[in-house]
């Protein structure tokens, strides 16, 4: 346990000490007995980011609802705190008990974005645990990982002991059940790993082998012992409505990224945007019923006192009873001054009156995500929004008093030309024109159009997984084209760092050889890579050079359909044939309809049942 006196001295010296104190409302405090299984939920980023993650709140409360499991939280300490910890020999500790993670049974990471991988290594090291699985002893915790990036776990092989693929609610409990038996038996570490390998959704990398071709591609991927599954099938919760949802969540003391009650209204998405990994891996669509949600909202507001509820999903307006739900929430919380926010809203299908009603409590800007600048390219990615939709929505919004609009785009999408890039500028300017075409007396506020572009990263399990990413030079060319052509004080242009997106592409589609690069980069001091000022591209390039690994092999290479991809052994329920077919349709600019309007044959309803396909 931490020495309190020493700890307080350090808190006096670091920025935002409240990140490190715990003690928030609704945390779980438990007595620890011999039978307690101690689980550290580890988020590889700072407190403010980690606390905004709904999955953490769900798993934390689920695990703590069991008497013999104690789940605590740990986040990446900011660099000033890390420095103090290393200087004073303080090991990474859990926020609730202030006990050292080293003494826990599990350290479970959630993989939300690739650029947090170096933070994972850093946290394991700060905890005083060996960063390589093979060096860990029987009394060390098991390092496990799940979350969206675990759908390609290979870059972390050798570091993480085992992965959980898919939704964690049930499988985590199964893993802990077997752990209890193993602990009692006093067996070897390897015996536990062997035992859980048969749980659906669990991937134990050390039980698998990879052979490579001369050109560096994969020749074969197989379990070393035939008793282990050749395919790892993702886990899903069949009936979301009956699935665990917390009735209280921790209330942070300091402002976090999403400091509010998050109501998860459904999982999955039926739209079929071809760049979107979440749209594939989270299939099928499963909704929570309106009554369940209203009840959850009531309990959560009562337990937290939060001033805002947000409806969380991949595409909020696709919830089958969205209007009734929103109206009921507005009605119930108007007097309590609880605001409602609807991220991921598709404005093409949502009545503005309702948005206006929502914004009576708190007014924010409007966000649109056309993703691409021209209709041709929007058809390639199967976005399913037309220019008309966008212009109609903005016109109505301006007419109702909005004046702040954000537009999100990607550059580097498959088949993109410079005309498509310029289309982004044209679209932004058209939005501006719509505002100024309105009679002066109808215009409210000062127009502000913000255009943001991110660099397209081809992701596993998408129809674009075979596609080479644009080079950094090409990205910069496109960014500069936009920079030099958007010259209007009403339109602001933001863009992402193309070098970071390049690394993201390397890790997203990487294989197990990349773990050497990760460790090397971390040894050179890489951490908090997604935090602009901490990011050092040069160190990463050195790490690639010294390990003899060519990053272009992963980011910039076109794969053929018959190549064995590093993540092919994971079964997400959507067939490879479907992804190939979608990619071919993309090349021709052919649309695929929303699968709520009829099955498009992705295969998910063959592999999994229970969803609204």
């Amino acid at each position: 346990m931490l020495d309190k006196g020493q700890f307080e001295k350090i808190l006096n010296r670091v920025e935002k000490p409240a990140r490190y104190i715990g003690k928030e409302q609704n945390i779980s405090l438990k007595d620890i007995t011999e039978d307690t299984v101690r689980f550290a939920f580890a988020f590889p980023d700072v407190y403010e980011v980690g606390m905004s993650h709904l999955g953490m709140h769900i798993l934390y409360n689920l695990l703590n609802s069991k008497d013999d499991i104690y789940c605590e939280r740990v986040f990446a300490p900011w660099t000033d705190m890390e420095e103090e910890m290393r200087k004073n020999n303080i090991l990474l500790y859990a926020l609730e008990s202030k006990d050292f993670i080293k003494d826990f049974d599990f350290m479970g990471f959630t993989l939300q974005y690739e650029m947090s991988y170096t933070n994972i290594i850093n946290m394991i090291d700060l905890a005083g645990i060996s960063i390589m699985s093979k060096d860990r002893k029987n009394d060390d915790p098991f390092i496990i990982a799940g979350g969206p990036c675990a759908y390609n776990p290979e870059p972390l092989v050798g570091i993480v002991d085992f992965f959980v693929i898919g939704e964690g609610e049930e499988v985590t409990l199964e893993i802990i059940e077997i752990y209890k038996k193993w602990r009692k038996s006093g067996g070897e570490r390897k015996e536990y790993l062997e035992a859980i390998a048969s749980i659906e959704g669990v991937y134990v990398p050390e039980l698998y082998n990879v052979d490579y071709n001369e050109d560096g591609t994969i020749k074969a991927f197989y379990p070393m012992d035939a008793k282990h599954p050749t395919k790892i099938k993702k886990r899903i919760i069949k009936n979301l409505d009956e699935a665990f949802f917390p009735d209280k969540i921790i209330v942070p003391f300091i402002e976090t990224v999403h400091d509010r009650v998050m109501l998860e209204i459904f999982r999955g998405c039926t739209r079929g945007c071809r760049f979107c990994q979440a749209g594939i891996i989270y299939r099928p669509v499963r909704e929570r019923s309106m009554d369940t949600l209203l009840e959850s909202a009531r309990k959560l507001i009562e337990a937290t006192g939060h001033e805002e509820i947000s409806l969380s999903s991949l595409s909020t307006s696709d919830y089958s009873q969205i209007l009734e739900l929103v109206n009921k929430l507005i009605e119930e919380y108007k007097d309590k001054k609880v605001g409602l926010s609807l991220p991921s809203l598709r404005l093409d299908s949502f009545p503005l009156e309702v948005i206006e009603e929502i914004q009576k409590v708190r007014k924010t800007g409007l966000t649109f995500a056309p993703e691409a600048g021209t209709q041709r390219l929007r058809d390639v990615i199967n976005k399913g929004i037309t220019e008309k939709d966008l212009f109609k929505s903005t016109e109505e919004a301006f007419g109702s008093g909005w004046s702040t609009v954000k537009l999100y785009f990607m550059i580097g999408l498959p088949t993109e030309t410079f005309d498509d890039v310029m289309g982004i500028k044209d679209l932004a300017y058209r939005v501006k024109d719509i505002f100024f075409k309105m009679p002066r007396e109808q215009r409210k506020g000062n127009l502000k159009v913000t255009v943001s572009t991110s660099c397209f990263v081809p992701k596993p399990f998408t129809p674009f997984q075979w596609y080479p990413q644009d080079s950094i030079e090409m990205f910069n060319k496109k960014i500069n084209l936009l920079k030099s052509s958007i010259k209007d004080n009403k339109v602001t242009y933001n863009h992402h760092d193309s070098r970071l997106s390049y690394l993201e592409a390397v890790l997203a589609r990487g294989d197990r050889r990349l773990s050497d690069v990760l460790i090397k980069a971390w040894k050179k001091g890489c951490k908090f890579d997604s935090w602009g000022d901490k990011f050092s591209f040069e160190k990463w390039l050195e790490a690639f050079e010294e390990t003899g690994i060519d990053p272009d092999f992963y980011a910039s290479r076109e794969r053929s359909y018959d190549e064995i991809l590093p993540w092919d052994f994971i079964d997400v329920g959507v067939s490879k044939k479907y992804l190939i077919n979608e990619n071919e349709k993309a090349k021709k600019g052919e649309l695929t309809k929303d699968c709520r309007k009829g099955c498009t044959g992705c295969g998910i309803n063959k592999s999994f049942t229970g969803g609204v396909c």
Partner: protein, 232 residues
């Protein structure tokens, strides 16, 4: 209808900022079903104010707030309901109805603090007392403050001697020295305990161990008819 309440900010909660503390209360009001009055407009805010801000890391036994109510609630119930839902370290000690037209912020004049520390070299109580006596006998204690306005840094110097009402040695045990002080606080002149520590470092021979410094607010005072009194 206005309730004036006294509360503590102790333990780890001393590491949250003034703004964060405001948010803790806003949420606690909602959890406790306190009928707080809200402002009108696009971003409705609960009508309540805290007396003065504490620096990060300073604990307190004597914080105050004013809360405007929308509907009637007994102060005792206000206190009890909040104490159930407030995090450890924050506790409502007392709550009363107040018909004060002035806000608590504008009324505060004085604050008492405990300043605790150990020293780099051993000192006797007599030495400390004599250092403090000569410190207080000075006519001028100049506090230097840097103010940043954009890129421009201006240095301002103030004689703050008048803002120290009292300062004395409370105890000197186990190498820990504890001073008690009463300082001017509020809009008409303000001196923070951390600034007193700065002055002590500059004007006395007391070698304060930086790491060991602990600051604690004991109480706030308003001034009525020239005499200091408690806010409630």
């Amino acid at each position: 209808m206005k309730i004036r309440a006294k509360f503590t900010k102790q333990e780890y909660i001393k590491y949250i900022s003034h703004l964060d503390l405001m948010r803790v209360f806003q949420r606690a009001f909602r959890r406790a079903n306190i009928p707080v009055k809200y402002s009108e407009g696009f971003n409705p805010h609960p009508q309540f104010s805290l007396a003065t801000a504490l620096a990060l890391g300073v604990s307190s036994d004597g914080e105050y707030m004013d809360v405007e109510l929308d509907t009637y609630i007994e102060p005792e119930e206000f206190k009890q309901r909040l104490n159930i839902v407030l995090p450890n370290g924050i506790k409502i000690l007392k709550a009363v109805f107040s018909d004060d037209k002035d806000s608590i912020v504008s009324l505060i004049r004085w604050a008492t603090y405990i300043i605790g520390f150990s020293t780099k070299e051993k000192v006797t109580p007599e030495e400390i007392t004599s250092e403090i006596d000569s410190f207080l006998s000075r006519e001028e204690l100049i506090l230097t403050k840097e103010k940043k306005k954009g890129k421009k840094v201006t240095v301002k110097q103030h004689n703050v001697r008048e803002r120290i009402k009292e300062l004395f040695l409370l105890s000197n045990e186990n190498d820990t020295i504890i001073l008690k002080t009463t300082l001017m606080t509020g809009s008409q002149g303000n001196l923070k305990p951390e600034e007193v520590v700065e002055l002590l470092k500059e004007y006395t021979e007391i070698k304060i161990e930086e790491d060991s410094l602990k600051l604690h607010r004991l109480e706030l005072f308003v001034e009525k008819d020239g005499a200091a009194s408690l806010p409630i």
